[in-house]
Symmetry: C2
Subunit: 503 residues, 2 copies
């Protein structure tokens, strides 16, 4: 039976190719997708074909592409390969696109994920011409049932001139009801409090609204999302997780975190976050909550085991195995998982109120606790800041995690000065590597520096860092935050010259 | 008639010297004061005497000093002169203290002003032993009437073991009722929405509560605050203000700001902010609102003229002339001014909801829009980040203002790379100097760089900056944010070597 139960919208069913034809060069195109979940599957490749065709005919064809965060690698790649993206916002993680950005051939604007919806509403990105949004179904009354991510879809549907819907019948129908789409946001001066005080609170509705007259095409698909299974945590990740869990136990003992439940956890994605979450299972915690961006497979186990009572996110980025687990036990999981728009999952008001414990990865930190999350050697973008700043600035505790070295030991993730700052010393409270945990709360810069080097730096780099610090402090007029400006990037310059930060 | 109407507290009247005797070496002492307003006047000098005496007797005596923001220069100076401060938090602006911090003799922790109260509650600074809080009176029932600033006083009174009150009869009694002390904050997981949706909303009570059993001394004073009168704006400040006002007009025309009322304004203190506020008076605006930290003399004129309908702040830092104007027309001003705790004046939830237009000063910005607010040449602290980060991150528009040069043209406030970052590229939307205004919204780093140099840099420095950028971009593998790491601080190194950033 068709997933398109509304007659008016059913009459707009079209091919992906016809749908892509509504997009013109110069358009600003906003699409669904957050991490691996919910990217449109059919219209993007058709759009890439259209762009390739226009190029072959001697014309130019580029769009400005707005998304939730990263989208499926496939979608990003096909558009980047045809040089179809003039401007990209707000987060990307696909090698082809990244190369074009670093070559200066694609503009990329890297902003906090909580700022995206409001900045588009405020008009900072001009008119949104087309929205392409994947959903899992359309109700009789014409409401849209979200698919596996929400991201900025509510905003895209509200602001776009023309809307293309992809109805993906691969998304389990039973997922309906997990979504909580909030329709109370507004531009100032008309904003009101978000009445969300617990992770599990519902403040919205399970579906998107859409003005049917703006819908220009409905495309039917049956294509899976492409989340890969996470590998088992390696020793380094387990060591980092161990330090984090010890720290939580210490904070509970000191009366700074509630025993048993801690406070709502936010964790980035990837192996280190996965290891930390895995460790929670063995930490004897019950009734934990998570208020984060992405739910991965590991979260399902924590929910099943009772360690996590409720998880809120904007994206369900599950592997095929994880999806099977979810659908086989959907009535159970539906009461323990809520998916929200990313302006709510990352909202400063909610992050501050709930008292989030923010755990995010980083590329490197400097001895004073400034963090670089985005720029390799200070110049080449990796992915983007994503939501890390939303949680680090407004949360209860802001932690950044990384192995102490990269590239087989050639790169130290603790450096004298980071050549790009995404999180300032004012926003970084705890640094963790497999070497140990540096608690920077209440410390002046000079004291921070000793703790960061001694606890977090790899032993091979410690003497170099101590030497830098000693000479910087010995300098006449060393100042509050001693540095040798001529040597501050010596680690990075050495790497650029020799392929290693070690002399 | 005495300002101390409560019998139990009246029985605790003591000399400043006896009050200072309750403070022991090693204590954490939290005092009132925000900018020039509301610092205790009598007990701090007495404490400095006590410290001097202990030193003379061969002992050691230091305290950890917590405040609202800066306190009166007098108080900071007398304690710094006797090396009485081991650790200082969160903001300072007094030369003697600053010198000791930069010499590494005093620990200073520079945090966002909205984070202070919650971090103390969370226990990051240990136990608060003593609070010294200036008030303007005590009611019969023992409630405390605030003086000219609120700052963190509500928190200090709640958390301190021992409390010293200074009742300053210099503060006009008629100021009572301007204060709105909110008692609804809590530690997570028990936080609830702040029901404040308009600048003029009152959500608290006009007085502080205090547990009388914790009050160890009540000291009577009659000493004025020491705000100096602002000088008339110079040409550079007027030019900056002109660019800001043009920008507002442009944004109103584009439909991105409400005509007439704009959105609530936050402005730092000093001559540039004063010039911008002065300009508003001539901009034809009516019913503007301000949601800021400090109210200075210039605001009274704006209120009187009807340009500003309501101003909310945490400190009334008025000159003697300003204070006379206030008291002469107190019934008028009381309905147009609200003083709040700084955790509310700077609260991320409120700043986001109200949609604040944040205008803060800076030391320097780099070509990509990263801002240094705190560290001269990257190492020497000036004052601190204060509330600038609270407003810049969570507000509607984040603007940073500065003259394009300092030290008679020897220093450029636009540099290739800032050697200390307080506000990242993700949080800076508009830069303004007397040369012009750079609107960075929606621009990739390479495009931002051209706009910043061409609009904001002084013409003498533009060729140097263009040369840097061209060579950085020409480098093989230049990346998303091109830099020459070996030359990124060449301006600063040249200044350190020659006293000028110019070759």
């Amino acid at each position: 039976m068709s997933r398109i139960k509304n007659t008016a919208l059913a009459s707009k069913v079209a091919s992906a190719r016809d749908a892509a034809a509504v997009i013109n060069t110069g358009d600003t195109v906003a699409i669904s997708g957050f991490a691996s979940a919910g990217t449109p599957k059919a219209v993007i490749p058709a759009l890439a074909d259209r762009i390739r065709g226009a190029r072959a005919a001697g014309g130019d064809f580029t769009i400005n592409l707005l998304t939730g965060a990263s989208v499926s690698a496939e979608a990003e790649r096909v558009l980047a390969e045809v040089d179809g993206i003039a401007l990209r916002m707000p987060y990307q993680s696909e090698p082809t696109a990244r190369r074009r950005i670093n070559d200066g051939r694609m503009d990329y604007v890297d902003i906090h994920l909580s700022h995206v919806a409001q900045q588009v509403w405020e008009g900072y990105y001009g008119k949104v011409d087309v929205a392409i949004v994947e959903i899992s179904g359309i109700t009789e009354s014409g409401e849209l049932i979200p698919s596996a991510s929400i991201g900025n879809n509510k905003t895209w549907l509200d602001v776009a001139d023309r809307i293309v819907l992809e109805v993906n019948s691969w998304v389990p129908e039973a997922m309906a009801g997990m979504h909580d789409v909030y329709y109370g946001t507004a531009l100032p001066p008309n904003r009101t409090p978000l009445e969300l005080t617990r992770v599990a609170d519902r403040i919205g509705q399970p579906t998107f609204r859409v003005d049917p007259s703006k819908v220009v095409a409905v495309v039917e698909t049956n294509v899976p999302d492409s989340a890969s299974e996470l590998t088992e945590p390696d020793e380094v990740s387990l060591a980092i997780a161990g330090h984090v869990l010890d720290f939580f136990a210490h904070e509970v003992k000191a009366g700074r975190l509630p025993a048993g439940s801690l406070l709502p956890l936010q964790a980035g994605i990837g192996n280190v976050a996965n290891a930390v979450l895995g460790g929670l299972d063995r930490g004897g915690y019950k009734d934990l909550t998570c208020y984060s961006e992405v739910i991965q497979d590991s979260m399902l186990r924590l929910i099943k085991d009772g360690a996590v009572a409720h998880a809120s996110a904007t994206s369900l980025a599950l592997s095929a195995k994880g999806l099977a687990e979810l659908t086989d036990n959907i009535d159970f999981y539906r009461t323990h998982i809520t998916l929200r728009p990313q302006e709510i999952s990352n909202h400063p008001e909610v992050v501050r109120r709930l008292g989030i414990i923010a755990m995010n990865g980083m590329l490197e930190a400097d001895v004073y606790g400034n963090v670089n999350s985005t720029h390799v050697m200070g110049t080449k973008i990796m992915n983007g800041i994503g939501g890390s700043g939303d949680f680090a600035r407004n949360g209860y505790l802001s932690m950044f995690l990384s192995p102490s070295t990269a590239k087989g030991g050639a790169i130290s993730s603790i450096v004298p000065m980071v050549p790009h700052v995404d999180h300032t010393e004012h926003d970084v409270q705890v640094l963790v590597t497999e070497q140990g945990l540096a608690d920077l709360r209440g410390l002046s810069p000079r004291k921070r520096a000793r703790v960061v080097v001694d606890r977090c730096a790899h032993p091979e780099f410690r003497p170099l860092l101590h030497d830098y610090l000693s000479r910087a402090e010995a300098r006449s007029g060393a100042g509050h935050t001693p540095h040798l400006l001529g040597e501050a990037f010596s680690f990075h310059e050495r790497f650029n010259a020799t392929g290693s930060m070690l002399p």
